[in-house]
């Protein structure tokens, strides 16, 4: 078949004269991980708060938490990305909107992408945290109250340390998801790894080579993250805490 193979394309200079095409692609990893990590910080922080809210005895807090999770789980990620990038600047007061739109690229794409991914993943993290807390024996909470701890103190010192250890595997899965979902940001112009592979394909027409390189790099990131999280799990494990099996995992 008539495809012109050219693996040497990676050593040729990139169109924007920033180095070779390989260097161009590797910078994409920096953007992918930068977006994923920043979004993960937001997701963990917000997700923990919402997850905790959904397990408190206050009905209004539970309803608020449920509404939050339902909102972010039922709208596709790409649609949310468009809402953050296109719609938000038009809905806020004109001065703020103009300032947002004047932001130079790449930050004009980076900030909406981080916020979008952060909020989207926080709903899923909230689910995991809630499942973790609810899998703890109800006696833990009661023991906290019996010892004179307030509700926040019970969460801080008794429930959450155990819950996080239990849901560490699903949280790893969510972290890997956020890295993969960062690719959706290419639609708003963020030049992360997939976007750069596409860009190489557009400039050099070497479809196979560009996408193979990107795939290998994603696999490498995956392996590194999985190994890293396994090390973290081992370090944080409390002997005898986690029974065989751990918390339930869903697909995706």
């Amino acid at each position: 078949m008539k495809y012109n193979w050219n693996w040497g394309i990676f050593w040729q200079p990139a169109a924007d004269a920033s180095g070779t095409w390989l260097h161009y692609l590797l910078v994409g990893i920096v953007w992918t991980l930068g977006t994923a990590l920043a979004a993960w910080v937001i997701a963990l922080a917000l997700g923990s708060v919402i997850g905790v809210l959904r397990t408190t005895p206050r009905a209004w807090a539970v309803r608020l938490g449920n509404a939050y999770v339902e909102l972010f789980r039922n709208i596709p990620l790409l649609v949310q990305m468009f809402l953050w990038f296109f719609v938000l600047p038009e809905l806020v007061p004109k001065g703020l909107g103009d300032w947002i739109k004047q932001m130079p690229p790449p930050w004009s794409a980076y900030l909406p992408a981080v916020l979008c991914l952060g909020f989207y993943t926080s709903a899923r993290v909230a689910e995991q945290v809630r499942a973790g807390i609810q899998s703890l024996p109800v006696g833990q909470r009661m023991a906290g109250t019996a010892m004179g701890l307030t509700l926040p103190q019970t969460y801080r010192h008794v429930l959450l340390p155990q819950a996080y250890r239990i849901v560490l595997p699903p949280l790893t899965s969510e972290f890997l998801n956020i890295i993969k979902n960062s690719a959706v940001a290419l639609t708003i112009g963020l030049m992360e790894l997939t976007a750069r592979a596409r860009s190489i394909q557009e400039f050099t027409f070497q479809v196979f080579e560009a996408f193979t390189a990107a795939t290998i790099l994603y696999l490498a990131i995956n392996i590194v993250v999985v190994l890293g999280m396994r090390w973290v799990e081992r370090r944080l494990a409390v002997p005898g805490l986690i029974a065989a099996g751990g918390a339930a995992q869903a697909g995706h």
Partner: protein, 259 residues
């Protein structure tokens, strides 16, 4: 805040959005779900099998001889089907869906041409390419769900099947899989709702699904806010309604006493 927007554009484009866009999205979801579950179940069965080159061909004397060698032996006895299926599932789960979409859109015609030995790449339209993409991608996720489902069936069921004289395929088909499906139905449907939302990613190829149709109208008329908010609301309503149905289904099929 919401004044000054032309909400009429939504009403004017409703026929186009739903007749062209939503039908594409729903058709793609339904077909990809079906194919994905079929292929995913096959993958799950492959992952759980211990078939190796040796076990399949041990009748051939040459294979038995090779299997006695130190290096080749473990290779021939390795569970081939399980490893191949496992590699496929792990690959699909490590790579972003957007990248898989690009792979399949540009490369399926080439691969198809190679497979049938044609002189030119075979022609695959946008819909077929998306269908193949989503079916193959979601199969990896359905595989993991079905694998959990099959593993949750007590082994006694399988032995009972063999005791009755059924072979492997009959046991799987009439005893194990029906129970596994019933148990995992809520999780399978939840995954389908995720698939429904993921089909919006065909936007990157310029394909006219629901989001793509709204996007075309939005860009042509400059009405980004109205159209994208409308799309978000529609997706929300449909997904929320579907997950509500799944919750009702889960409550109905729950066996009291079993987890």
């Amino acid at each position: 805040m919401l004044a000054g927007f032309d909400w009429d554009v939504i009403q004017r484009s409703l026929p186009y959005l739903f007749k062209e866009g939503m039908t594409f999205t729903l058709t793609l979801t339904a077909l990809a779900m079906t194919l994905g579950i079929v292929f995913g179940t096959l993958l799950a069965m492959m992952r759980l099998s211990s078939v190796s080159v040796y076990s399949a061909l041990h009748g051939v004397a040459a294979v038995r001889r090779l299997a006695a060698r130190p290096l080749l032996g473990p290779l021939l006895r390795a569970p081939l089907l399980a490893n191949v299926a496992g590699a496929y599932v792990n690959l699909m789960r490590s790579v972003p869906l957007v990248l898989v979409i690009f792979w399949f859109y540009f490369l399926v015609p080439w691969i198809g041409g190679w497979l049938i030995g044609a002189t030119q790449p075979i022609q695959v339209g946008a819909f077929m390419s998306s269908l193949v993409t989503f079916a193959m991608f979601e199969a990896a996720y359905y595989c993991e769900i079905m694998r959990a489902g099959i593993q949750s069936i007590p082994r006694g069921q399988v032995w009972a099947g063999y005791a009755l004289g059924l072979n492997y395929w009959q046991t799987m088909g009439t005893v194990v899989l029906p129970q596994a499906f019933r148990n995992m139905m809520p999780v399978l449907l939840t995954q389908t709702i995720i698939l429904f939302q993921d089909t919006s990613l065909v936007y990157v190829l310029g394909i006219t699904d629901f989001l793509g149709a709204a996007s075309k109208v939005a860009q042509r008329d400059g009405r980004l806010v109205e159209m994208y908010l409308f799309v978000a609301v529609v997706y929300f309503i449909i997904s929320y309604f579907l997950s509500y149905l799944v919750k009702r289904l889960q409550a109905r099929i729950a066996v009291p006493g079993k987890l």
